[in-house]
């Protein structure tokens, strides 16, 4: 257990430079987004009001006011979220392949540690999951700050509504996905995320075990896992059977747990018995 925790810590440290950059990029870009977005709206509103010689109230009636949803939809705001997501998905692959390739073959050391191969597998998964949670935590912390900054900037007369943090999240599909507001949603977002990661890890293990044949096996495995998880949806789509939403949720949760468990078991089994250094 201690070795597992040390491994998680080690894996996070290895990615820390890039990870901290991601956090900083998110923070800076979103703050800049709030300021620039607000400023450009205010400038435009001011120009129009001067040109057409109308009051703030008339401007709002004619052109509409501003609220945080407009900021949250900007590239400044969503760009870093997308960047972080892409970086972490990329890292799912890199976290394994970097140990095999390059001048220094760290995989020798890693697989010769006096610890189970399962803990090596899980430590990498845990590291990525913790990093995802860290990014979400940052977003949860800075969102109210950004909101407050925005509200202090915009004159009340031009503001549509002063939104609460939770309503900002609800109004924005991206934020709604990454910051779940209910437990069910949390299970959906992160459960599916974890499952997808374990499937990818296992596909990588297939490739590392059987090389070119392994890529095919990995794809087949991914297909089977996806089909298994989505089976109830297919069944409903074929209109041969109908599930109540509660039932569907229950069945898919169970299937998700089974698929994840199966992937982890198979992946760590491959790592233990079939992988070639």
């Amino acid at each position: 257990m201690m070795r597992y925790i040390k491994l998680v810590n080690f894996e996070i440290n290895r990615f820390s430079k890039i990870y901290i950059s991601l956090l900083l990029i998110t923070l800076v870009s979103q703050l800049v987004g709030v300021i620039i977005g607000t400023k450009s709206f205010l400038n435009r509103a001011l120009d129009i009001m001067l040109e057409e010689k109308i009051s703030e109230a008339a401007y709002v009636t004619n052109y509409g006011g501003i609220d945080f949803t407009q900021i949250a939809n900007s590239l400044w705001f969503q760009g870093p979220i997308a960047l972080s997501a892409v970086a972490l998905v990329f890292y799912i692959f890199l976290i394994w392949y970097r140990d095999w390739f390059g001048k220094n073959t760290f995989i020798y050391r890693l697989l010769m540690l006096p610890t189970s191969r399962l803990s090596i597998y899980l430590s990498k998964a845990t590291a990525i999951f913790l990093m995802v949670l860290g990014l979400i935590a940052l977003q949860i912390i800075i969102l109210p700050m950004e909101n407050a900054l925005f509200n202090s900037y915009v004159p009340e007369s031009l503001l549509n509504t002063e939104m609460s943090t939770s309503s900002i999240v609800k109004m924005n599909s991206v934020l709604n996905l990454v910051i779940p507001s209910t437990f069910t949603q949390f299970l959906l977002s992160y459960g599916i995320g974890l499952m997808a990661m374990s499937i990818l890890f296992t596909a990588i293990m297939f490739e590392r075990s059987f090389r070119i044949k392994g890529i095919i096996l990995g794809l087949v495995f991914t297909g089977i896992a996806a089909a298994l998880f989505l089976a109830p949806v297919f069944i409903m789509a074929s209109e041969s059977f109908y599930f109540y939403p509660n039932e569907l949720f229950g069945i898919m949760t169970a299937l998700g747990i089974i698929v994840t468990g199966l992937s982890i078991w198979l992946g760590s089994w491959l790592l233990k018995n079939r992988v070639t250094v």
């Binding site: 070795r3 040390k6 390059g102 220094n104 020798y108 050391r109 540690l113 006096p114 018995n273 070639t276």
Partner: protein, 228 residues
């Protein structure tokens, strides 16, 4: 004792090992020799559980488990630590993960090899990388040490130093298996030789017995076996 029993291995259609069997005793140096590069490293990887194989390998009558890595270690001919680490960080890593890490021996070897703790691994020369590998591997209090081509591509003075360490630090009641394609520096240190070719064991003999009974050096036997 390490017992390798009838192990076979294929990469695709290519046969790397074809029913290789031998034993390596504790307290002895066993040398796997093969001129044609095939099979030596794979054998070591198989023993270490780093590649799948057919057949059976037992270490002191038991199969390899996670805890075996506290008892047996492998020193590959490539660096096994991250290039971003310093020598010191690599030592800390080993100490963190292995209960068999022996810091006194590590310091002794650091001094002997004149390695500096603050040097980044990415800046080590080929010779110093080999020394670092050796230092990290030999500082574990293990029963068996496996080394892959410890002398290849290394300058003469580093080779001499490594050969010195062989006699003074390496053997000490341990079982040692080393692979090599040229026997040179360590011929007189070896107890047992296993000649491999095309994935098979061609000949296996005890060096002192060979000298005593037939007056032949290891190189003499290699010449006979590989040139016939």
């Amino acid at each position: 004792m390490i017992e390798v029993k009838q192990i076979s291995k294929k990469y695709g259609r290519k046969t790397i090992l074809d029913g290789v069997s031998f034993t390596a005793n504790k307290g002895e140096v066993t040398c796997l020799i093969g001129i044609n590069g095939v099979g030596k490293t794979t054998t070591l990887k198989a023993i270490m559980g780093l590649t799948p194989y057919k057949g059976e390998i037992l270490i002191d009558d038991q199969k390899m488990t996670n805890n075996s890595y506290e008892k047996i270690t492998f020193i590959p001919d490539a660096p096994t630590m991250l290039p971003s680490m310093t020598v010191k960080q690599a030592m800390v890593f080993m100490e963190d993960f292995y209960t068999s890490w022996n810091p006194q021996r590590a310091n002794q070897l650091m001094g002997f090899f004149k390695l500096k703790e603050e040097t980044p691994i990415s800046e080590l020369s080929k010779g110093n990388t080999a020394k670092l590998n050796l230092m990290l591997g030999l500082s574990l209090d293990v029963d068996y040490v496996l080394m892959d081509e410890p002398f290849s591509g290394i300058d003469m003075f580093s080779r001499e130093q490594i050969a010195d360490v062989f006699a003074s630090h390496l053997i000490e009641d341990r079982g040692v298996i080393i692979t090599t394609h040229e026997i040179g520096d360590i011929e007189h240190l070896i107890d047992k030789v296993i000649l491999l070719d095309n994935g098979k064991v061609l000949k296996e003999f005890n060096t002192e017995e060979m000298r005593e009974d037939e007056g032949k050096s290891v190189v003499d036997v290699m010449r006979e076996v590989y040139q016939s």
